[in-house]
């Protein structure tokens, strides 16, 4: 069942169309990727979900009911352009943002302690924000985004500003939140993390939805009947009626070969032909990366 749905949302700023009849449906407990080039309308859609702005036409549903102003308490939002009051102390600031999300002071304190300890920034509680490193500030912002235990969390480029170690910590926290029941909308330009994290995606370009579905399904759909083979030793394969060779490489006593089949050929048929050439280490259908798909889809429209 969909936790969040947007139906036929259109939004216009002056004579500029920001969203044109966009619909998304975010299943419960899924990580939903919201992709698109710069200026495509992602931020507008996210702001509409957060009720920062309203749509011109279209409807929004949370948990099957129409989205209400009070629902901001059930949503957590980490914007791409984020910041904190520089002169304010870290703890006070986190407390303030938590209270704005409707938490009582005592409850907010309790949860903040838990999270500050978990992310190892408790020592920074009394420091001013401007004394913190960027990564540290990001951690504070991550905490304030999830502190009120929202059912729907929107992360816009959550990993920028983190070193790989901390990025991994945050990634695991996101998965942990998902496992505990949260639904996550994840907007990023980093396609590797989309493959790694997202279950479903929507790709918006020039205010329109141009691609949507589950990541696996999309990658399979865009797969161009290609297969990756790895042989032991030096192996040479030539194309035949069933397939042709896209590329052959040698690497450390291994041969990496990509085939492209022509027409409907089963995996068994391919394997039967190629196993005569040498000792097979692995055989995989070659799925295009999300990065390739992104570029191909967007460029095809230009």
């Amino acid at each position: 069942m969909a936790l969040f749905e947007a139906k036929n949302v259109t939004k216009q700023y002056g004579d500029q169309l920001a969203l044109d009849n966009v619909s998304i449906s975010v299943p419960e407990q899924c990580i939903y990727g919201l992709l698109g080039p710069n200026g495509a309308g992602k931020t507008t859609l996210i702001r509409i979900i957060n009720q920062i702005t309203g749509p011109d036409t279209g409807e929004l549903f949370l948990n099957g009911r129409k989205l209400k102003p009070e629902d901001v308490q059930a949503i957590g939002y980490l914007p791409e352009e984020r910041g904190l009051y520089k002169k304010m102390k870290v703890g006070e600031q986190a407390l303030y943002l938590a209270q704005l999300k409707g938490l009582s002071k005592s409850e907010a304190m309790k949860r903040l302690r838990y999270w500050f300890k978990k992310l190892e920034i408790i020592d920074w509680w009394g420091k001013k924000v401007e004394e913190l490193s960027k990564g540290m500030q990001q951690k504070v912002q991550f905490i304030t985004t999830v502190l009120h235990e929202p059912r729907l969390i929107i992360f816009d480029e959550p990993f920028t500003g983190f070193d790989p170690v901390n990025a991994n910590i945050i990634k695991n926290e996101i998965l942990f939140l998902r496992d505990r029941g949260a639904t996550i909308i994840f907007s990023t330009h980093n396609m590797e993390s989309v493959e790694e994290l997202c279950d479903n995606i929507t790709l918006i370009d020039k205010s329109k939805t141009i691609l949507e579905g589950s990541v696996d399904e999309i990658r399979n759909r865009w797969a161009a009947n290609e297969y990756d083979l790895v042989f032991e030793g030096d192996v040479n394969i030539t194309g035949n009626g069933q397939y042709k060779i896209v590329k052959q490489e040698k690497d450390n006593n291994k041969s990496l070969i990509r085939l492209k089949t022509e027409g409907d050929v089963s995996n068994n048929d391919i394997l039967q032909t190629v196993m005569k050439s040498g000792k097979i280490i692995s055989f995989n259908p070659a799925l295009p990366s999300m990065n390739e798909i992104f570029i191909r889809v967007v460029e095809a429209r230009n």
């Binding site: 700023y13 009720q51 749509p55 352009e81 910041g83 904190l84 009051y85 704005l100």
Partner: protein, 454 residues
Amino acid sequence: MNKISVIIKREYITRVRKKSFIIMTILAPLLMAAIIILPTVLMMNQSGQFKKIAVIEDKSDLFKGVIKNTKDVEFVYLDNVKLDDLKKTFDKAGYYGILYISPEIINTPNAVQLISRQQPPIGLLQYIQNSLKNEIERQKLQAYNINDLNEIMKNIRTNVSIQTIKIDSSGQVKKTSTGISMALAYILGFLMYMLVFIFGAQVMRGVIEEKTSRVVEVIISSVRPVQLMMGKIIGIAMVGLTQFFIWVILTFGIVTVLKTTVMQKTNLTEITQSVPQNLMAPAAADSVTTAVQTSEVSPKFAEFSQMFDSAMNQPWGLIIISFIFYFATGYLLYASVFAAIGSAVDNETETQQFMLPVTIPIILALMVAMGTMQNPESSLSFWCSLIPLTSPIVMMARLPFGVPYWQLALSMVLMIATFSFFVWMAAKVYRTGILMYGKKTSWKEMWKWLRYSG
């Protein structure tokens, strides 16, 4: 509603805890007190030194013993001493100066000279002038050979002060004082101007801070933009009122303490005589004068008590209620415009082009308010006290002089309508503006934002 109070609390506490706030709050009353007290102290120090003055009268002794010695100055009459000789030696002989009176004094006012090494204090000069003038007048009168002259002089010595009385339509009589009304008009008008302008500009800076630090998007995903805007405006208003009340209390406190400790050391009469009244702030002048005059000159006291009556007779209830009303609405009107401007720019230097149209009505209002003190019935004052952009300042300046109720009511109705409209418009601009970055905003652009939906 609860969220607004969280915002107000943050806006208030972060500002009140700032070092600059604490320093300003303490320093300003000290400066104010210094402005009030300093002239007095300066005068006092000058007269505090004991002086001996040699008096030489050329070819007569008409003024012998006329100038009475005071606590600080002794006048020594020297006979048979040549002025030119004494001029060289008087300071060695322990004299502060020489008072030379030539025989032409009755006819030529310039016939008196005070010769000294230093510039003599103005109080001393006035004292000598008055003494001589009185004596010359007395002697001239005496030349008419009137019997019982001294008795007559005592009888004709009169003090006149005009008592102004306002009668309202029901025939109720109120003693008033134009001086008090003017002072009150000035204070009220200026106070309104300060509060609206200074704290309105603080609202603008607060909005710019939130925008440039990019914290604003997180906040408006929790509260509605208009809540954030109003929370900020109200929080800063409370900061302003806090500072204002501390200033008033501290200034009065410091002035009172200094007055009682420093001034008691010396003869109060001389201080007040030597201090030109207009140099002193009204509050200090009034109380010092009373302290002195009660024991001495009853007409002065009567005047003061009349001023006191008049101050008490001001329609305080009406003034206070109106002040609260005009402060609330006037501040909200301007602060919301300032908030809208702050939201439309990326940094403070960009605010210039928008500030001018906002500043002009405020400055105009202040100027009209100053004019109102001179001429409360002018048609300019009348219209400006109705027009909502100027009415908070001008109407407050008019109130102490009496304003017909229908005018006050009309002004308030116009004010409510206008401020609601401005807050509504400002909220629309603000909502769009805080999320706009990098584009240089124009008035045309802001006009477009007004028409964006939700």
